[in-house]
């Protein structure tokens, strides 16, 4: 990370740390999205929603590393909303269909896509509109279609419950656009998801370390027991091994690197969630306790944008 990227990270962290995201997430889960949308407008002011959009559509044309930094912070603070779809996948999908960038001319429908780009991208960049989509079979449902635009068409149908109550899932009814297996937009979604998972994992580790220093059992804080220390040290190691894969995938953007990053980040976040759950005791999955917000978001994102076995398979085929 260069000093500017470090400052961007710190700016996002300061904004989110001062925003009481847990209350916003609970309100979002209960169907009251206004505080969350207000926070998304602030994130847009800082540039988050414009990162993957070119300057000609009022975007920032930032690097994938900048995107990863933003998603780590979104994960770190368990920000609700269709972040991956809105910031990474939908803009990238529109752009990859423009005639001058499309790999396959058959999918480039020049006039449609050009108008799609000029109609939507400036609105995403400014944060005026969030976007979502479904991408079966990986993402069979669209996240938060009740507050986000569906630029690829379709209407939200039947809703489905998610393990993470901040994710309002719905079927999309229409001949919905589906990308290819090695689609750049899909990969950007997987990379953003990996970054969000390492951020979630880091937050769960921080919460767990704080908790085991407070919770006293058998006359001492439970964090003094070696078995508890070992659990949390394993989480530290998993996260420290996953993050470099995520950052190097952002550099290369090679599908196999993104797959490796997603596998490692999912494993680290899952370990952070399970170990955190264990060292907290039953309180960790109590809805009223903040740890649960990270726990269920990690659970929902683990299989998102390609399950670990799908990504392992793709990695294996590339070897």
């Amino acid at each position: 990370m260069n000093p500017e990227q470090e400052q961007f990270r710190s700016s996002l962290h300061s904004l989110l740390a001062a925003s009481d995201v847990p209350s916003i997430a609970r309100a979002w889960a209960a169907g009251s999205c206004e505080p969350g949308l207000a926070m998304w407008r602030k994130l847009a002011d800082l540039g988050v929603t414009a990162l993957a959009i070119p300057a000609e559509y009022d975007g920032l044309e930032a690097t994938a590393t900048d995107l990863v930094i933003a998603f780590e912070e979104l994960g770190h603070h368990a920000v609700p909303g269709p972040a991956i779809e809105s910031v990474a996948v939908v803009p990238s999908l529109i752009l990859s269909r423009l005639p001058e960038t499309a790999a396959d001319p058959a999918v480039a429908r020049a006039s449609d896509v050009a108008s799609l780009a000029s109609q939507w991208l400036p609105r995403f960049a400014s944060g005026e509109t969030l976007a979502t989509l479904a991408w079966p079979p990986h993402q069979p449902f669209a996240v938060d279609a009740h507050i986000a635009a569906l630029p690829f068409g379709g209407t939200p149908g039947e809703t489905v419950a998610s393990v993470d109550p901040t994710r309002h899932l719905s079927h999309i009814e229409s001949e919905h656009f589906i990308g290819g297996r090695n689609d750049r937009a899909f990969d950007l979604g997987a990379l953003a998801c990996a970054a969000q998972l390492t951020g979630l994992g880091q937050a769960m580790l921080d919460l767990s370390v704080a908790y085991v220093q407070q919770r006293v059992q058998f006359g001492q804080p439970v964090g003094k027991f070696q078995a508890v220390k070992h659990h949390l040290a394993d989480v530290r190691i998993a996260l420290d091994f996953a993050r470099p894969l995520v950052y190097s995938a952002a550099e290369s953007l090679a599908p196999q690197d993104i797959s490796a990053a997603k596998v490692a980040a999912s494993a680290a976040a899952q370990l952070a969630a399970r170990s955190g759950l264990q060292v907290h005791g039953a309180i960790a999955y109590t809805r009223e306790y903040d740890f649960s917000l990270w726990l269920v978001k990690a659970r929902a994102l683990l299989p998102a944008w390609g399950t670990a076995s799908w990504h392992r398979n793709r990695l294996l085929e590339s070897l």
């Binding site: 500017e4 400052q7 700016s11 800082l46 988050v48 414009a50 990162l51």
Partner: protein
Amino acid sequence: MKIVVLVKQVPDSGAERNLRAEDNTVDRASANNVINEMDEYAIEEALRLQEAHGGEVTVLTMGPQRATESIRKALSMGPDGAVHVVDDALSGTDALGTSKVLAKALERLNADVIICGAESTDARGQVLPHMLAERLGVAALTGARKLTVDGSQLTIERQTEEGYEVVTAATPAIVSVWDTINEPRYPSFKGIMAAKKKPVETLSIADLGVDAGEVGWAGAQTTVKEHTKRPPRSAGQKVTDSGEGGVALVDYLSSEKFV
């Protein structure tokens, strides 16, 4: 409207701060150095003035080389450029000497409005705006919780313990602000990238026509002779409640004249 904001780099007030044993000055080398918190409110106020009335915002800092980091951070919020007064001879300068140097730099900048934080978190003297106003011969509107500009007329609400006073002056003037005045913005991606390319002029005291003997250790009118660590907090009194706990609490509060 030409606006200058004074920005000071200070050790992070959230962490433990120490004085150095050898010269009784703040240990800045081991501290996490940040923009003085109140100065962020000054920058925000300057940017709001610029947004409403146009003009230019310049950051002015006096400090060692590493203060450039804070200058870049200040610029990432939106000011147009910065002036950094940096000189080895300035080490040890007290408030009076600082005001001399900053006044010289401000004369060159020819500002309509000078905005600064009401105090720095390290020295907490609150004297600098007054010293600068005196040296520059301009009005001092200090301790503002609200600033309004109407043409060349500045009006502030000066925060006091009981409420506020309305103070008015014509430009040029110096305004110092409290953290009640606004909510500083967070640097955006665009702002951070733009800050890299903004001009930062560095000036030595020779450039400003200040003699080395007037500043630094030699020019300081005040010296710190010694310092000791604040004693650790003593253990409080414990009141064990055996039915009379409330009475014991009230007895204590009344002995301290709280009730």
